[in-house]
């Protein structure tokens, strides 16, 4: 038995024994996500147990080093773990911007002290992180950060406002882009700071979206403070960290959109109009087929991206391609699901309808699709900019 086969066998046994039934085969829906944090909400006792057991093994972040709370697995082992989890329908133990965004940034740019301080709590789901990038009115011009940070007596004092802070009202800490050097060109004067949200200087206000959600917040900084040491990367080098993370975010949104939520489109079609009913509506059927074709292509492209990553031969522009394509396909899919479900489900109480109303935001967030096209034109095609 090879090492890999041994690892698979062992993992299978452990998962079977440790993944509670209540953490298996759950729909991929917001209400089933475990976000952890200082005041955690547990969808079920089984899911709490599942997080604790996985965190114990470091398997919430299988590829992070063990010393920082990770599983210390290599890429191949991590893939095996993912396959084995999928096999028994194990739910993701922990949803976390700490895992998806801050963690990779700390691993790349953080000091050893920062890693020890923050990564284990992320891995265990003990601290829930928010992202403070966008500002009101700035939109796509992320680097036009106006929130100011001044160093006063060994502490950063921060004033300003962020927007689109995901679950800002439920998070414990925030990583934020802050302008610390006002007198240099805009990309060079930004620092990447970490702040505790449990202080008077930080308040949040939820923004209601057209889909009825209020997951996003405005976050106000009014003389908020954090220790001088809570800066990731050098002073004024925050844009480098931000760009690194934007790449991650882009690929994430693209893949999540590409993979889709809810029932597969062909199943929705069969369950509503049925095959014969759909054939009586060829125009609708064709749009469905085109969407399925697009999704299959996305799925294959994601497979290739993983293969390329393994071969250290990534096309650096593929994340933009997936973000652009995945979000547009996702919007079209949600719209088609609505057309199939019929008018009685076009209510705010319907999950498919809410997914449809959420979909446009994905084409805007994480660098709007126009920004992705600009990036592809400039970096992949090297087309000149107008002077």
């Amino acid at each position: 038995m090879s090492d890999s086969e041994a690892f698979r066998a062992e993992t299978r046994v452990w998962l079977e024994a440790n993944c509670p039934l209540g953490a298996r085969n759950l729909p991929n829906a917001p209400e089933n996500s475990v976000w952890g944090g200082r005041n955690p909400h547990w969808p079920s006792g089984d899911q709490k147990l599942w997080l604790e057991r996985m965190a114990e093994r470091g398997w919430t972040v299988p590829e992070w080093p063990k010393e920082f709370g990770g599983g210390g697995l290599d890429k191949h082992e991590a893939a095996v773990l993912a396959q084995e989890m999928a096999r028994i329908g194990a739910h993701s133990p922990l949803a976390s911007l700490g895992i998806w965004m801050l963690g990779p940034a700390l691993l790349e740019f953080g000091t050893d002290k920062q890693k020890r301080k923050y990564l284990p709590d992320i891995a265990k789901g003990k601290v829930r992180w928010a992202q403070g990038y966008s500002e009101p009115g700035a939109g796509s011009d992320l680097a036009g950060v106006q929130t100011r940070g001044e160093l006063v007596d060994g502490k950063w004092v921060v004033n300003g406002q962020k927007i689109w802070t995901t679950y800002g009202d439920k998070c414990d800490m925030i990583f934020a882009l802050v302008r610390t050097e006002p007198d240099v060109p805009k990309h060079q004067g930004i620092s990447f700071l970490l702040l505790d949200m449990d202080q008077d200087g930080i308040t949040t206000r939820p923004i209601e979206l057209i889909n009825g959600d209020a997951h996003f917040c405005e976050t106000f900084f009014d003389n908020a403070v954090t220790d001088q040491a809570n800066i990731v990367g050098e002073r004024g080098q925050g844009w480098t960290v931000a760009k690194f993370l934007l790449g991650h975010e882009r690929a994430m949104i693209g893949q999540a959109s590409g993979a889709g939520m809810g029932k597969p489109l062909e199943e929705v079609a069969k369950g509503t109009l049925g095959v014969d009913g759909l054939r009586a509506e060829p125009a609708l059927r064709q749009e469905i087929v085109d969407n399925l074709l697009g999704s299959w292509v996305m799925q294959i492209a994601m497979e290739r991206m993983r293969d390329q990553a393994r071969a250290h031969a990534m096309n650096p522009h593929t994340p933009s391609v997936l973000k652009l394509t995945g979000t547009e396909l996702n919007y079209a899919r949600t719209e088609l699901v609505g057309a199939l479900n019929g008018i009685e489900t076009l209510t705010m109480g319907d999950g498919d309808t809410r997914r449809w109303l959420s979909a446009p935001a994905n084409c805007i967030a994480g660098g709007s699709n126009e920004i992705q096209l600009n990036i592809l034109a400039k970096r992949a095609l090297e087309l000149p900019e107008q002077k």
């Binding site: 966008s134 939109g139 796509s140 011009d141 036009g144 927007i163 689109w164 923004i207 209601e208 979206l209 057209i210 889909n211 009825g212 509503t272 109009l273 009586a280 509506e281 060829p282 125009a283 609708l284 749009e287 919007y331 719209e335 609505g338 057309a339 199939l340 479900n341 019929g342 008018i343 009685e344 489900t345 076009l346 209510t347 705010m348 109480g349 309808t353 109303l357 446009p360 935001a361 084409c363 805007i364 967030a365 709007s368 699709n369 126009e370 096209l373």
Partner: protein, 365 residues
């Protein structure tokens, strides 16, 4: 008639717009929506519109009406769409069409002037499938009672009367029912766009016939009218959202530039302008055909609904995208149009439904 608005129509549009801007700004619709009011339209607004002759102006002069045509109704509906004015205009025009066509003198007298004055809302219950399918009529009329289930009934909640299509032996007739009777249960569909929409369960509800037992032609005509009016509504919605977007493009700065200077956005906006320019002809053509009782009326109504459903959807998707984050927040008005366009688009058949109808009936494919 020529495919140009005549002077009367231009005056009608201006007058309607003037009234609505005073009596029904978008903020009034928003307040009504947030109030959770079950009726979802404003009786005061309905009364004000009626007072100005703007409710069901298609009622014939011999029935005491204004005797204007489909084009005039559409002018009003289009203006109302700009403001998301909450009033049962399309249902009134469709009901007037059906009653005018099929009603006995007594029925016409009892119903039409009450519709026109806004005292009575008569809803048309012609649909049975969640996804538009006019061929499906399983509700039956037997022993003077109706049994079945209707859906997507526009302005069905709180309606004073309902016109229900139902099978009587192998023919389809139209039946007048009082929703207050036993055996008629009206339930609201909480449509995302805040429109009054209902399902109706008929469980032996007593009803009287309008006309004989073959109402197919009148029902088709009313559906044609409804489709053309919804196309006009979609045109108003799309125009409004497009104008908002073009204004935004002229104001909003990103990377120290007015975003309207970005050529990629310019070309996308220009393509929408081109499609709106073309679509305007199509909507007017359908309305003229209705008023001239052309042989192609029904196909042209389908064309108008087809073109406007697709175009309005595309305009709103582009509008939201070009507005960026603000476009997906509830406090910004654009989202209201986004949702309304979806429901108006699906009512009486979306673009996909009509494209296929035309494929078969216009081109024999």
């Amino acid at each position: 008639m020529a495919l140009v608005l005549n002077d009367d129509e231009v005056m009608l549009a201006d007058a309607t717009r003037g009234l609505l801007d005073r009596a029904a700004p978008v903020s009034a619709f928003r307040a009504l929506r947030d109030s959770g009011d079950a009726l979802r339209y404003s009786p005061e607004l309905l009364a004000a519109l009626a007072e100005n002759g703007l409710v069901a102006p298609n009622i014939a002069e011999e029935d005491g009406g204004v005797g204007m045509g489909a084009a005039a109704v559409a002018v009003i509906v289009e203006q109302a769409a700009h403001n998301l004015a909450a009033a049962p205009l399309i249902s009134a025009a469709m009901a007037a069409e059906l009653i005018g066509w099929l009603g006995s003198p007594g029925q016409r007298e009892a119903l039409l002037s009450a519709i026109m004055t806004g005292e009575l809302v008569v809803a048309c219950a012609l649909e049975e499938a969640g996804r538009h399918n006019p061929a499906k009529v399983e509700t039956s009329f037997d022993n003077k009672v109706l049994t079945g289930r209707k859906t997507a009934v526009i302005d069905g909640v709180g309606a004073g009367r309902m016109l229900v299509s139902a099978a009587n032996s192998d023919r389809v007739g139209l039946y007048l029912v009082d929703p207050a009777v036993d055996g008629c249960i009206v339930e609201a569909i909480a449509a995302v766009d805040g429109r009054n929409l209902a399902t109706v369960r008929l469980d032996g509800a007593p009803a009287e016939a309008l006309g004989g037992d073959d109402a197919d032609e009148a029902i088709s005509a009313a559906i044609d009218l409804g489709r053309a009016l919804l196309a006009a509504e979609l045109l108003g919605l799309a125009d409004h959202a497009f104008d908002m977007t073009v204004s935004y493009l002229k104001e909003r700065k990103q990377f120290d530039r007015i975003i309207g200077t970005y050529q990629a956005l310019q070309h996308r906006a220009a393509r929408l302008y081109a499609r709106l320019d073309l679509a305007r002809s199509v909507v007017l053509k359908a309305l003229r055909a209705l008023d001239e009782k052309s042989d192609e009326t029904s196909l042209l109504a389908s064309l108008a609904k087809c073109v406007m459903t697709e175009l309005a959807r595309d305009v709103l998707v582009e509008a939201v995208q070009m507005h960026g984050g603000i476009g997906v927040t509830d406090e910004f008005d654009l989202g209201l149009y986004f949702k309304r366009v979806r429901v108006s688009g699906d009512l009486l058949g979306d673009d996909r439904f009509h494209a296929e109808r035309l494929a078969q009936e216009k081109w024999g494919l």
